[in-house]
């Protein structure tokens, strides 16, 4: 039953919540609006709210100036590639730990989690040197490899918490019916595991897409992802505010949409299942 409060209190709380929410959202709103303004309007002494001369030229300029699509393509390859690779390694591991736990399973899980605690700067220098010697610096596959490794613990943990919720009785019933292991996986486990795998996939694409330590330190022009691309705007060149906004909007829009869809799973994934 919903709590009953006086309407006036409710109006007050609603107004306050909307004001705070919109203040928090204002930087994103600023990007959305500035992306469609002309450069002159973007830095006008008396700022406008809505674009006065609606233009798409910023988007064209961003593509011309620094090849947006190449960086977007790199981002997609690295985030999706590392997630799929992570799932390929993580699904069997999580499956084994969830359905055939031993007394060491908990320790293994905790150890995997502990690898996530290692600060990136602690291994930056050797990774940088190894990458330099193996000619992996500024390559998409090198970056994909690192991204897989840093997100693998989260992938395994998330999958594990989802797999744990699949009732074991169903598997045993299937086994009683004489189902082969392979059949058990394909016909019983997979359909029940798909939602969890999908959530894991979504969250990890988001995390990899926004990762900004390894992408900036290990890539430059050729394999640069969108995070590295946006960082190149840190030294302003003439009028660039509207172009920065256009590039930013393109970089955050797809992930914002994915994030909105996956916000419930986000809580579970980012707290390693500790808060659901």
């Amino acid at each position: 039953m919903a709590r009953t409060v006086p309407t006036s209190t409710r109006i007050g709380f609603t107004a306050l919540a909307w004001i705070i929410a919109l203040l928090l959202f204002s930087p994103i709103l600023w990007v959305l609006l500035t992306a469609f303004k002309t450069e002159a309007e973007a830095i006008a002494a008396s700022p406008t709210f809505l674009p006065q001369n609606f233009t798409l030229e910023n988007f064209a300029a961003v593509q011309d100036r620094s090849d947006y699509f190449k960086h977007a393509f790199n981002s997609i390859i690295v985030s999706v590639g590392s997630t799929l690779l992570g799932l390929a390694i993580g699904i069997p591991a999580a499956w084994a730990m969830a359905f055939a736990p031993t007394k060491r399973t908990k320790d293994v899980l905790m150890w995997m989690l502990s690898t996530k605690m290692m600060p990136a700067v602690g291994v930056l220098i050797p990774i940088y040197l190894i990458f330099r010697d193996l000619r992996l610096l500024d390559t998409v596959h090198g970056l994909t490899l690192i991204m897989t490794l840093i997100n693998l613990p989260i992938i395994i943990w998330m999958l594990y918490t989802y797999f744990k919720e699949i009732p074991v009785d169903i598997l045993e019933a299937a086994r009683m019916d004489g189902a082969e292991l392979w059949n058990e996986i394909v016909h019983v486990l997979v359909p029940m595991a798909v939602p969890g795998i999908a959530s894991t996939l979504l969250l990890n694409v988001i995390l990899a897409w926004n990762e900004a330590f390894w992408t900036i330190t290990l890539t430059s022009g050729r394999a640069g992802t969108l995070t590295a691309f946006i960082s190149s705007f840190s030294s302003p060149q003439g009028l660039f505010l509207a172009k920065l906004s256009a590039a930013s909007l393109l970089a955050i829009a797809p992930i914002l949409l994915m994030g909105w869809f996956s916000q419930k799973q986000l809580v579970r994934g980012l707290t390693f299942g500790a808060v659901k």
Partner: protein, 290 residues
């Protein structure tokens, strides 16, 4: 036997994950440790050999280290205070019966999905720039002199940006925890005549305590490694005013090519993170038993 077969199978299934994580965890870390005791500079190839504690003394003895350590603490604590206090209040507000709760939730969580360089550059150019930033316009509207945030208050500016990114995270987690508090429990307290403040202290806070702990620990892990926000705004400056340990390692090892000293800094960063990690592992581990 089926069980033996299952056991072998599960070992095989876990092997790839365990092996890659084992390599990932051990090889670079051992190399960092090794380099930290070597004289190794990419600029000066003549500088070789065992350095003993030289790199550590050099890094820790340098005033930039002390400042970076203090900056790291201020950055982590500043963001934690803002996000935990703000997140708790915002979660309590969003938990009230208000109109548009679902949409509000989505709006509030949005900054968390903005990639760090974008967040930093929006704030730097769109809001904090003294000439054409929105805050500058706001200051002018009140007849005040616009503030040159990144030159005058570099660390504070970085804290604002990072807090903006992590406030949604804290809010979302705490709101989720709050909503799992059973309605009956609250109503019972209300019936017993507990007022809002008592309900907050005796019912809500104890329930939230564990979630708040988890938010603090997880955020600390990420906040210790803040990098992109500094890289694209202040570049660690002016001087070392906004350099944290993570950025100092990058500056020393990659920008100045001093592999030995950079590695020593990296080892220090690992030690600091491990202290936090031990507490986090305990908190998460406890939950695993439940």
């Amino acid at each position: 036997m089926a069980t033996a077969q299952t056991r072998t199978l599960s070992r095989v299934m876990m092997a790839p994950a365990v092996i890659v994580l084992l390599i990932w965890m051990i090889v670079p870390l051992v190399m960092t440790l090794w380099f930290s005791f070597q004289n190794y500079s990419l600029i000066n190839p003549m500088m070789t050999g065992f350095a003993g504690w030289g790199n550590y003394l050099y890094v820790i003895g340098d005033p930039s280290f002390t400042q970076s350590l203090v900056n790291t603490l201020i950055l982590v604590c500043g963001v934690l205070v803002i996000t935990i206090v703000g997140g708790t209040l915002l979660a309590l507000l969003l938990d009230q019966p208000i109109w548009g709760q679902g949409i509000l939730r989505i709006i509030v969580i949005s900054p968390f999905f903005v990639m760090p360089p974008v967040a930093a550059l929006i704030w730097k150019n769109g809001f904090m720039h003294p000439g054409y930033g929105m805050l500058g316009h706001l200051w002018k509207a009140f007849g005040l002199q616009p503030v040159d945030w990144f030159n005058q208050y570099p660390l504070f500016s970085v804290i604002v940006i990072v807090a903006w990114q992590w406030l949604p995270f804290a809010t979302l987690i705490l709101l989720t925890a709050l909503q799992s508090l059973s309605e009956e429990q609250r109503e019972a307290a209300e019936m017993d005549g507990a007022n809002a403040i008592n309900r907050f202290y005796y019912i809500i806070m104890p329930h939230m305590a564990r979630s708040i702990t988890i938010v603090i620990l997880i955020q600390t892990i990420f906040l210790l490694g803040i990098f992109a926000e500094i890289r694209v705004t202040t570049g660690g400056g002016p001087g070392y005013a906004s350099t944290n340990i993570a950025f100092l390692v990058f500056r020393t090892g990659i920008l100045s090519n001093d592999i030995g000293a950079g590695s020593a800094g990296g080892v220090v960063a690992v030690i600091i993170a491990n202290v936090v990690a031990i507490f986090l592992m305990r908190a998460v581990g406890k939950n695993l038993d439940a």
